[in-house]
Symmetry: C2
Subunit: 231 residues, 2 copies
DNA sequence: GGGCCAGCGGGAGCAGTGCTCACGATTGTC
DNA sequence: GACAATCGTGAGCACTGCTCCCGCTGGCCC
């Protein structure tokens, strides 16, 4: 047993435990206050030992970023799975609602992911997959609507899909033969606006403006559904 | 002369100079890398001397935040002043475009303001005024449209103004006698979405998705104008 | 005009950070 | 059982924000 063995296993386990402790610190104190030394202290090891598992603080943060993306994506996926398949608007609201609720419950982790890129940034390759999960949910939702004939692929301003990366529309299932399509672009706009709404709330920009944040959010995401062209 | 004197004047000047040096550091290296000691070094003074002018690093950052808000607001105001008064859409686009261009030109300063709240946050009172300047431009634009009869105060979902702070609609000139008004809420949604669009671009979330950022932005803000109900 | 004290700059120092490195100890593999 | 890769340790470097005390000095009041 353990051809590639027990050593690797305890390493993997320790790696996970360090990330877990770090995630707790992040959740309670925010990314800026996350200290490798503090994590090491809590684990009862020398600070230098942590570097055997994470080559730098930034790598630890990257791990936490991926975890956060995945957590958000999973929350949204579970919510949309529980919504009635045929009711596009219900599914739309389920995704938006779940995403916002995760953010409200985990503000610091949300800020780590959708706030300012922390260090000298440069989003690591590992993050680009998980980052798109919520967006993908929204676009498959839209493509379902197109397939069912309830969503019009056209819409103003026409042709704005041309501003997107060439293969992105296909990758999210919103390709169109028409050069005038704006479907994918509208989906992306709604996706971005969704996170704009959440970010403004989490970061406190709407503090003196919105009173009932939940109600406002629901109404706003409903407007976004209009924008996309959901029935 | 100088009843409240020369002393106060050199103090004000030095304060300004420190802020200026700090702003340059921020612009080139980002908020995380802004070091009081580095600013002090560049000014040729001991690090402790800086504390005579700014009681803490956070206070320095707060000053820079206010400056950034004002710079954004001014850019937008100048742009809208140069647009044809009667053409609501042109004015709308002018505001959006100027805001985005400022952000592209000053990414770190933008991130300081619209990214994650840096330390233990708690937005200082001094920031709430300047923070609303762009939003105010958008809402006065809308209210102009209402006055001219080209913008319908109603719109889906009806009554969502109720989610806002009670007096906010009046403060931005979008008060309504109808309990079913959603005009202010739609304006706030568009305002938030505008900054969502800019943030996603600046923070790199659309890197592999949008190719022509300027074109995409223009199309998206046009859609937001639709959402508000601009003619 | 002269004294006086608030205001100022300087330097040392504290507690903390990320990260490196040489050193033993341990442990899985041949 | 020997060997070597792996691991944890502690000291140390350079840096940070911030505090405190010192000595000087320039503007105000008598």
């Amino acid at each position: 047993m353990s051809a590639a063995g027990t050593r690797a296993r305890v390493r993997a386990e320790l790696t996970k435990e360090i990330a877990e402790v770090a995630r707790r610190h992040l959740a309670s104190d925010g990314a800026a206050a996350l200290s490798l030394r503090a994590v090491a202290r809590e684990m009862g090891m020398a600070s230098s030992a942590v570097y055997r598992y994470f080559p730098s603080r930034d790598d630890l943060l990257t791990t936490l970023i991926v975890e956060a993306y995945d957590a958000i994506g999973e929350a949204a996926e579970q919510a949309v799975a529980a919504a009635p398949k045929g009711d596009l608007r219900a599914r739309w609201q389920a995704i938006c609602r779940a995403t916002r609720e995760w953010a409200v419950a985990h503000p610091h982790e949300y800020a780590l992911v959708y706030g300012s890129p922390v260090p000298g940034y440069a989003a690591p390759q590992a993050t680009i997959g998980p980052a798109g999960r919520v967006g993908l949910l929204l676009t498959t939702l839209i493509s379902d609507g197109v397939a069912a004939g309830t969503v019009d692929p056209l819409g103003s301003p026409t042709g704005s899909d041309a501003a997107l990366t060439p293969d992105i529309a296909e990758r999210v299932g919103l390709a169109s033969t028409s050069a005038e399509s704006s479907l994918a672009a509208r989906g992306v706009t709604a996706w971005i606006s969704l996170f704009g709404l959440i970010s403004f709330e989490i970061f406190g920009h709407t503090n003196n403006i919105v009173e009932d944040h939940e109600r406002f959010f629901t109404d706003a995401t409903d407007r976004l559904a209009d924008l996309v062209g959901l029935p």
